[in-house]
């Protein structure tokens, strides 16, 4: 259903002894396209003025509800604001929320995963049970419960989405730590007489951390989808702030007359997710390739 779930279902993120070998391929066009799009998103987030000449909040009442045209690429909304400019200016907030949520999720997950992987049987058992319990709540529901308890707003949105994703990440990180722990080079480090602390710090953690790049890339796209879902339900960022999910929600009132108000902000989310999935998979394959060589 989502990139992370798919990765979860495919088993360990980075099999130390891979059973299903992937052919080493050159960079495919989808990956190149995704990288290009990611660069554009980064530019839009850092310097939106370079990508559009119009302001996201500039009202032109006489130009309301214009269909997409060369002048207004994505059309205009009820107050004549340019939808393309709003999507571009919304990039920063949407991406920041996605990054924030991913950081929260990965941070919590790394803590749980590493403690479970290295902390011995009791810690491992306890954390595994906890994860099993958290898995009983679908992520969106966990996030909604969180919003109900702490009240809506961008801060809650980030924490809620982050925590909702944490159990999945934690399970993958734990698996990774265990796989690395059982690998030959860790044994070698022990044979060389390195202390346990040094083995953990210098050998296990850096190697277990490498696939985090993959998780983070896949995760940002998913986090944006979820955060936008909360905004869409009216529980995150509120209009008129140009955030993608909030724009979708605001455009819903005019669905009958002005489809472009919802279709284009949504397209931004879809494109971002697809790009993040495709780049994440690419990094994953690269990492796998490196290990197998």
């Amino acid at each position: 259903m989502s990139a992370i779930d798919q990765t979860l279902a495919r088993g360990p993120l980075l099999p130390v002894a891979s059973t299903r070998r992937r052919r080493a391929r050159s960079v495919r066009p989808t990956v190149a396209l995704s990288a290009l799009f990611a660069a554009f998103v980064a530019l839009a987030a850092l310097a939106p003025g370079l990508v559009t000449s119009q302001g996201p909040l500039t009202v032109h009442l006489s130009e309301g509800f214009q269909a997409p045209s060369l002048h207004h690429l994505f059309g205009t909304d009820q107050s004549g604001r340019d939808v393309y400019a709003r999507v571009v200016y919304g990039t920063r907030e949407s991406v920041l929320i996605g990054l924030g949520a991913t950081a929260v999720g990965l941070g919590v997950a790394a803590l749980l995963g590493v403690v479970a992987g290295l902390g011995g049987r009791v810690a491992d058992g306890a954390i595994n049970r906890l994860l099993e319990v958290l898995f009983a709540f679908p992520g969106l529901l966990l996030a909604l419960l969180f919003v109900a308890i702490f009240g809506p707003g961008p801060g809650t949105e980030i924490v809620a989405v982050g925590l909702a994703n944490a159990p999945g990440y934690a399970r993958m990180i734990r698996g990774q730590v265990l796989a690395v722990k059982g690998s030959g080079y860790v044994e070698a480090s022990r044979v060389l007489g390195h202390s346990r602390a040094r083995t953990i710090r210098r050998t296990i953690l850096p190697n277990a951390a490498r696939p985090l790049v993959v998780l983070a890339t896949l995760g940002v796209g998913q986090a944006i989808v979820w955060a936008s879902a909360l905004s869409f339900l009216g529980l995150g960022v509120k209009p008129p702030a140009p955030e993608w999910g909030a724009m979708l929600d605001a455009g819903r009132d005019y669905l009958q007359t002005a489809w472009w108000l919802t279709v284009f902000p949504g397209l931004a989310i879809v494109a971002f997710t697809l790009a993040s999935t495709s780049l994440g998979r690419f990094f994953q394959q690269r990492l796998e390739g490196k290990l197998e060589r």
């Binding site: 049970r129 319990v133 909604l144 989808v225 279709v263």
Partner: protein, 314 residues
């Protein structure tokens, strides 16, 4: 007692443990709520309730009792199937949820069936049938799986209800009104299931049992239908337990888009009003459904896959 019965009992105990722990997690999360729940019950801070009113509500709902006492009475009520009283609607939560459950169940079960039909069709039509077809099939699946439901739903609504007028914009609980919501819920899931069944299907076609079936003179269509498909369905069965959870959370969004009555709408309204008993009730209900579904899947799996059955004692 047979080994199979013991396995089932063990699974049951584990499921009960997960549910108990889930209820506990939710209870203690609730305690983190900033502010006084009594104020929320009395209509929020804007209603300016007096201290005497707050004290009365505290007493009525038991908020003035020690935390552990509250916890055990909460568990006791849960065991009797009592989820408490809604802060906003002043009705039993079980009744509030019960009233909305029907349409959501219809929606999610239709979507699950639809998703399976699409996934199996896509697998049968494209897996192991040459590179181009395979690439098209898996490309469609990746895109479907990546579509956020809130966007897919809006696009379907614009195209089929508003532009083409094939179905009503607000369908209510009619059969016609079910088409778009069920599709919105089913398509991303179908994309996801399809990817998994395709992988399995492809590898099943190269397995010795497929080769031997061909050697016996079985046609390729029969091999696909009788042998490979059965093999490919196995991980799909496992995923169905997970999928039910995903469908239930997806129905929250779909019900809001299509203004369809159901548990999802109820939940979003309750989150907006910080009506915690309803939110907690729905959350626990979904956790229960998820755990039970996974238990069933586990048992079904043993039925479908003879390799997993406990070997007869020799």
């Amino acid at each position: 007692m047979s080994a199979a019965a013991i396995t089932v009992l063990r699974r049951l105990a584990a499921a009960a443990g997960v549910l108990l722990a889930a209820a506990t997690v939710v209870f203690f999360l609730e305690q983190l709520m900033p502010g006084n729940p009594a104020v929320a019950i009395l209509g929020g801070a804007g209603a300016h309730p007096s201290n005497a009113q707050i004290a009365a509500v505290d007493h009525q709902y038991g908020f003035d009792r020690p935390l552990l006492a509250q916890y055990f009475s909460y568990l006791g009520h849960l065991l009797r199937g009592d989820l408490g009283t809604s802060y906003g609607l002043h009705q039993r939560v079980t009744q509030v949820i019960g009233d909305q459950l029907g349409p959501t169940l219809v929606l999610t079960s239709t979507a699950l069936v639809l998703a399976w039909v699409v996934a199996v069709a896509s697998t049968l039509l494209s897996a192991g049938r040459g590179r181009t077809r395979q690439a098209i099939g898996s490309g469609i699946e990746v895109v479907l799986a990546g579509l956020p439901q809130y966007w897919l739903g809006l696009v379907l609504l614009v195209v089929f209800a508003i532009q083409l007028r094939w179905v009503p914009v607000v369908g209510g609980t009619s059969v016609q009104g079910l088409v778009l919501p069920a599709l919105t819920l089913a398509l991303p899931l179908a994309g996801f299931l399809g990817q998994v069944t395709r992988d399995e299907f492809g590898s099943a076609l190269e397995q010795p049992f497929a080769v031997s079936a061909r050697a016996r003179g079985m046609g390729e269509r029969e091999v696909r239908r009788r042998h490979a498909l059965r093999h490919a369905a196995l991980p799909g069965i496992t995923l169905s337990g997970w999928a039910i959870g995903a469908l239930l959370s997806g129905s929250v969004i779909v019900e809001v888009i299509y203004s369809r009555p159901g548990v999802g709408q109820l939940l979003v309204g309750a989150v907006n009003n910080q009506d915690l008993p309803v939110v907690v009730g729905v959350t626990l209900l979904v956790a229960l459904v998820y755990v039970v579904a996974n238990l069933l899947v586990d048992i079904l799996y043993r039925v479908a896959d003879p390799r997993l059955r406990a070997p007869a004692r020799s």
